[in-house]
Amino acid sequence: MRTTGHEPVAPFDPAGDVASGFRDPATGEYRQETMIINMGPQHPSTHGVLRLVLELDGETVIRCKPVIGYLHTGIEKNTEYRTWVQGVTYVTRADYVAPFFNELAYCLAVERLMGVEAPERAQIIRVLLCELNRITSHLVALATGGLELGAVSVMLYGLRERELIMDIFETITGLRMNHAYFRPGGVLMDLPEGAGRKIRDVLDVLPRRIDEYETLLNDNPIWRERNVGVAVLPAARCLELGVTGPVLRSAGVAADLRKDMPYAGYETYDFDVVTRAEGDAYARYRVRIDEMRQSLRIAEQALQRLLDVHGPVMIDDPKVGWPPKLSVGPDGIGNDPAYLEHIMEDSMEALIHHFKMVTQGVDVPPGEVYATVEAPRGELGLFVVSDGGHRPYRVHMRDPSFVNLQAVPDVIEGYLIADIIPAIASLDPVMGGVDR
């Protein structure tokens, strides 16, 4: 079509539409077709290596099929070839945002198999670190959720708070993530000098920082617009799908394993179970913020108890307690010199026992156990089977993200593409736990 630049350009030739099949010549209507597109596994907003195959009608999602397995690591099979204590290092890398919970569930399971219980101080340390980890996990959920929706400042603030708590983790366990600090029988070492003061300082600072998040997001019109009424999952459907954790609590069901089936001394702590009624993404955000406050409450109580309760942090049974005695030597940390003298000079049996403990580790009586903890994402269960040897026979992790992700089709279908992002961010899956 020739134009001189002044005449309007002719409209698109409809005959071409009919010839190519887009337009029905009889009615003049354009044919509607759905489009199948693929989202992931490499995608900035799918919270990890999650792949969603979406069938779209324009912008509306008609059907969704999540495909997982892009982070499958074979953790469960690997633990069958390592000792019981080495199992902690494998299990802790499943849900890598909340590693202490994996370790806690595994250690509870192994301790139940062995028929022992960790000493009281070890349990208090476990509760303290787990609740701090719950705070960091919810901060990561908030930060990544905000980043995916475009609220970059939320990401920076969330990770700033997280760094404070990572500092505490590093002081106590030596690592920022994937600590392998909880061991069957207790924890690795007692808190070092100055750790209590550090925790105290952080616990003093955190409440006002959480207020900052609430000020920033609670009544923010954009945040509300994108989250209210999105990804609604009613309580009955949650229970059918086996969804637990903040998602279930945002639908109104007050199910929290710390209250229902307490472990590690949680029945002696004072805290509330947070619920909301709406069951949408905004409700889950509010539940996570309030859960952070409850975790701070528990952490305060645990810190207070640590000042009063002294004692060992690992069981004193030489057939169970691992690692062998450590103490703070002049160069930092090392084996207890009295212990070294004992095994090298006094007793051959002690040396042989030490050698066996280092190479093989503990022996666990045969049996099966399913130990559960309330992880930040829901019910985390470790099913551990022992055949009486020094290696696990079968370790299965019932990861909450794996089960919660089954709700993705329910939560996405019928909404727009842009609603997928807050939907998945509110379910908060960690693909390491999903795929293991």
Partner: protein, 172 residues
């Protein structure tokens, strides 16, 4: 097996050593040096966070260990706009074709950092499910050990890569 890509260019640590190396091994014109400097100044990583190392990579990009000091705060979502691939985390058998495809979609010049032991060598997961080292699929420039590497370790790896980029011939 690690691949020797830059024969004779051993990267020293002090500026004098680097100058020495550069004079001995590689001839760079002023233009080449300028291009190398420009390339290293604003490398844009592609978002390829897989597992635990991705969380540490996010922490490195966040406020405390700021990656934007070296021009890298923009993580490009599309690989076609990125020039650095930080493989952070364990690469499973299912993910390997996707990784290769992302690498192929990146335009030249491109570099790869294998962050963490899982990406460098398979890590603690010597089993059926994990690729034993990402250098079996893509050519890797820098390997950073650690499980996960501290943000400072990742920054050290990035700075080493920047030295490498600054001192290599731009159009080979």
């Amino acid at each position: 097996m690690p691949v020797e890509r830059y024969e004779g260019v051993r990267l020293g640590t002090t500026p004098e050593e680097i100058e020495e190396d550069v004079e001995r091994g590689v001839l760079l014109t002023t233009l080449d040096r300028a291009i190398g400097w420009a390339r290293k100044q604003s490398m844009w990583p592609a978002t390829f966070g897989l597992a635990c190392c991705a969380i540490e990579m996010m922490a490195t990009g966040a406020g405390q260990y700021d990656l934007s000091r070296w021009g890298m705060e923009i993580f490009r979502a599309s690989p076609r706009q990125a020039d650095l691939l930080i493989v952070s985390g364990r690469v499973s058998q299912k993910m390997a074709p996707a990784l290769r495809r992302i690498y192929d979609q990146m335009p030249d010049p491109k570099w790869v950092i294998a962050m963490g032991v899982c990406a460098s060598a398979g890590g603690m997961f010597t089993n059926y499910a994990v690729i034993q080292g990402v250098d079996t699929i893509v050519p890797v420039d820098i390997y950073t050990p650690g499980c996960p590497p501290r943000p400072e370790m990742l920054m050290h790896g990035i700075l080493a890569l920047q030295k490498k980029v600054r001192t290599e011939e731009p159009f080979k």
